[in-house]
Amino acid sequence: MPRPGFVLDVDRSTPPILFHHGEGFRLEKLPADRSRIIYPAEPLEPLDDIEGSIRRALLNPIGDQKPLPELLFPGMRLTIAFDDISLPLPQMKSPDIRQRVIEQVLDHAAAAGVDDVHLIAALALHRRMTEDELRHAVGDRVYEAFAPSGALYNHDAEDPDNLVEVGTTDKGEIVEINKRAAESDLLIYVNINLVAMDGGWKSTAIGLASYKSIKYHHNVHTMRHSTSFMDREKSELHSSTWRMGHVLRDAGINIFQIETTMNNNVFGTEGPMSVLQKREWEWNPRDRATFLAMKAGLDRMPARSKRKVFQSWRAPHQMTSVQAGEVEAVHEITTANVYAQHLVPVEGQTDIMTMGLPYIGPYNVNSILNPILVMCLGLGYFFNLYKGRPLVRQGGVLIMSHPTPWEFHPVHHPSYIDFFEQVLADTTDPKVIEETYEKQFAEDDWYRHLYRTSYAYHGVHPFYMWYWGAHALEHLGRVIVVGGNEKAVRRLGFQPASTLTDALEMASDVVGRDASITHFHNPPVLMADVT
C-alpha cells in the first residue's frame, strides 16, 4: 500500500534534505523549528491489466459518447491526435502509453475497414517531434504503417492551408484548429495527464490550435487570473479553453477523448536513481553510497555529458487509470485520479518557499533548460502546483536551486536567445513585454520558418514561458536563485545566492528573521492542497 504524501516539521534530528539542482543535487540543512517539508505520496499501484483496461475503456465510454466500434465505419475520415514530446516527464520507458492506446484504437479501425486514417502530434506552438521521438511515442509498428505515406505528422500551427476557423466564443475568442482534425468524421484524442492542468478541452482546443487562437488565453491577464492554472475551477486559462471546446462541440466535431493518468514513479524502486525517490531518513547504506558516488561523479562531469546522461533516463511511470468518451465527463474522472496521486494537504501558507529544480521541464526534453525555462519551471509550474491558496504568502520569498546556465539550444530555442538578450535586457515586466515585443516575435518570418521546417519552438513561445510565471511574479516579494549563474539570474530579475544560508539571510530582509520556511520536495510531482 503506497504511503500518502505528508508534511514533516523539521527539528534538529532531521537529516539534510535533497534539493534537485539541474543535472546535480544539493543536500541542505533546513533551520529547525521553523521549517517544514512537503513530501509527495509514493507511487500509486498501477493497473493490473493495462491492455484489458484500455479495451474496456474504449468499449464502455463515459458520458454522452458511443462505444468506439460504433463510431467507426468504412469510408470514414478518422484522425487520431496525441500529446507531444512535452509529456510525460521524463519520457517513459517503452512502450509509451500513447502507443498502447493508439494500437488498440487502430485495431478497432482495422476491424471496421477504415482506410483514411491520419495521426497528428498535437504540439500547438511547441517544436516538431523528430522521427525517433515519434517512434518512441507511437511505437515502431504504428510509425512504419503511417509515416511513410505521410499520414503521421506534426501539427503545424502556421500552415494557412491546413487550419480552419471553427467559430468564435461568446467572449469573442476565435477558435481555429487543424483542418484535417476539424473535418474528420471522428477525432480521437489520446492524452497523458501528468499534472492536473493537462487534458480536457485543452487537448484539442490548444494542442491542435493556431497562434491566432492560442493568443486569447496565453496572455498575462489570463495567467494572472489563473490561481492556479493547475486548479481548473480557478483557472482563467481553463475557462477560456472550455469556452473554445464548446465551440468545437457545437460545430459538430465528434471527439472521442481518451485520457490516461500515471503514477509518479519517476526514478524507480531499484537502480542508482531510486534513492531520489526515497525519504532521506530511509536511505540505507547502499543508497547513501550510491548518492555520494553519483554526486561526486556528476560534480566532475562536463555539463554536456551530464545532460546526456539525464536526458537518456526513461522513467518507469505506470498507468493508473484510463477513461474514454465525452471530453468533460472523462476529464472529471481523470482529474480526480491525478489528485489521488498528487494532492498533499498542507495547513497554512509560508513566508519562504524553497524548491530544488530538476534537469527537466516540459520544453527541454532532449534539450537545455535555459534561464527562461528555469523561470518557467520554478515560477510557472512548481509555484502553481497548489490548490486553494498559494503555498507561499503574498509578498513572500521563493528560493529555488538551479545552476541557471547562460546557455540555449540553438535549434530548439532560437527565439529564446533573442528574448533573453533583447527583451529581458530591457524589462522583466510581463505586461510591458507583452505590449511591446510579443507581436514582433510572434510574426517574425524567420522564427515561423524555423518552427515549421526545423525543430524550433514558435517565436512567441519564450513570451508564454514568461507569462506562465506572471502570477508568481505578481504574488512574490522576492525570488532568489541558489547556485545559479550570477549574470543570468540577474538578467531574469532575480537575486543570486551562493548557498541556502545566504539565500535565507537575504530573504530575511523581506520577511523577517523568524520567517516560516516550507520546502517543496518535488520531483516526484506533488500538489499542495493549502487550507
Binding site: 491492455e51 512502450p95 485495431d107 482495422a110 475497414g113 509498428r141 504504428v142 512504419e144 504503417a145 503511417f146
Partner: protein, 332 residues
C-alpha cells in the same frame, strides 16, 4: 649359365614381403575381444541360450537422452558464454536480425512457450540470440530426437549449446511432453517449432498441437513468433550458410480460451504467426485490416502445383538469383 645372367646370387630372396609378414603377425596375435571371449564364465558373460530372446538395453540416445546435466549451473554458465560470446555475434553478422514487437512482451511475467515458424537450422540460434531477457537464459528448446540426439557428440552439443531436450516428431511421446511440462513448471521457458520440422519448400506447414497442449497443461502463455528470411541463409538441404537479412516479429502472449482444445488453439497460434508474417512483410495497419477481414495470407501457401507454389513465394524464395552480369564473362 645361370638364369640371372651368369652373376652369382649374393642374397636369398624372401618368399613374401615384410608388409605381409607384419600383417600375418598381427593376425596371429590375439585381439582383446578374442581374449575376452576365451575367458571362462563368470569372467566373461554367459552365453544366451538358444531360443531365448536376448534382453535389449534401451538406447541412451535419441528420445531417451538425459539432458538434466545441461541445466546444472556449470553447463548454464558455459551456455551463457557460448550464447553471448559466439552465437549472438555470429547471428548479428550472418542474419542481421530486424526485431519487431519485443515491447509486446513487456507485460509477460514468468515462463512462456515461444512458438515460431520454422524454415532453417538457423532459426534456433537466431531465436536464442534475440529472445529478450529474462527468458533468453532460462529457456530450453525442443529438438528432433532422431536428428539432434542420434549420437553422443550431437546430443551433447545440442544439450549444451541450445539447452535442447529431445522431442519425438514421428510419434506422440509422453516422455518428451512430461519432461517439457516439468521444466516449464520449474519456471523454464520453452522454444518449440510447432511445425515439427523445417519447411521443405519455403512455405509453412500446419502447426501441431505440442505448444498448445503444453500451454493448456502448464497454464502458461504462448508467444507467437514469426521468423522470416532464414531460408536464404541456410535452406533445407544446404550445408553452408550465406549471410542475409532476417526479420523476427514477436506477437502478444496468447492464452487458450475457455473450452478451447489444443487443436483449435494450435490453429489460432498458426493464424497469429501468419498475421505476424504479414506484419513483418508489410505494415502493421494493413496486416491488422487483413487479419480482421480474415484475409491474412496463409503461411502454407496456395493449394496448387509445385511451380505455382514456388512462383507465389516471390521475394521469399530461398533460391538466390544469380547476380546479373553487365558484360558477358569472356575469360582472360
Amino acid at each position: 649359365m645361370s638364369a640371372n645372367g651368369g652373376r652369382p646370387s649374393d642374397r636369398k630372396s624372401l618368399p613374401v614381403s615384410g608388409k605381409t609378414l607384419l600383417a600375418l603377425a598381427k593376425a596371429a596375435a590375439p585381439s582383446p575381444k578374442s581374449v575376452a571371449r576365451s575367458l571362462p564364465f563368470p569372467l566373461r558373460p554367459g552365453t544366451v541360450p538358444v531360443g531365448v530372446e536376448p534382453k535389449r538395453e534401451p538406447s541412451k540416445f535419441g528420445a531417451n537422452y538425459d539432458t538434466d546435466w545441461a541445466r546444472s549451473y556449470p553447463a548454464r554458465a558455459a551456455r551463457v558464454l557460448l550464447l553471448e560470446g559466439v552465437l549472438r555475434p555470429s547471428m548479428t553478422l550472418l542474419a542481421a536480425p530486424i526485431l519487431r514487437g519485443v515491447d509486446r512482451l513487456d507485460d509477460l511475467d514468468g515462463p512462456a512457450i515461444f512458438a515460431p515458424n520454422h524454415h532453417s537450422h538457423i532459426d534456433t540460434p537466431l531465436l536464442l540470440s534475440v529472445i529478450p531477457e529474462p527468458w533468453r537464459h532460462h529457456i530450453f528448446v525442443a529438438a528432433a530426437a532422431d536428428y539432434f540426439f542420434g549420437n553422443r557428440i550431437t546430443a551433447t552439443a545440442s544439450a549444451l549449446a541450445m539447452g535442447a531436450i529431445p522431442f519425438e516428431r514421428t510419434k506422440i511421446s509422453r516422455r518428451s511432453s512430461d519432461e517439457a511440462a516439468g521444466l516449464i513448471n520449474d519456471g523454464w521457458s520453452f522454444l518449440i517449432f510447432p511445425e515439427g520440422g523445417r519447411s521443405p519448400d519455403g512455405w509453412g506447414q500446419p502447426f501441431r498441437g505440442g505448444a498448445a497442449y503444453l500451454s493448456l497443461k502448464c497454464e502458461v502463455p504462448v508467444v507467437p513468433v514469426y521468423v522470416g528470411g532464414t531460408t536464404r541463409i541456410l535452406r533445407k538441404g544446404k550445408r553452408l550458410p550465406r549471410p542475409s537479412i532476417t526479420r523476427v516479429v514477436f506477437g502478444r502472449p496468447m492464452w487458450p480460451h475457455e473450452d478451447e482444445d489444443s487443436r483449435r488453439f494450435a490453429l489460432r497460434i498458426e493464424n497469429e504467426v501468419s498475421a505476424l508474417g504479414d506484419e513483418g512483410r508489410n505494415d502493421w495497419y494493413q496486416a491488422r485490416k487483413r487479419a480482421h477481414a480474415g484475409e491474412t495470407p496463409s503461411m502454407r501457401g496456395p493449394q496448387a502445383g509445385d511451380w505455382r507454389r514456388h512462383w507465389d513465394l516471390g521475394d521469399r524464395s530461398p533460391i538466390r538469383r544469380r547476380q546479373k552480369r553487365t558484360w558477358p564473362n569472356l575469360g582472360d
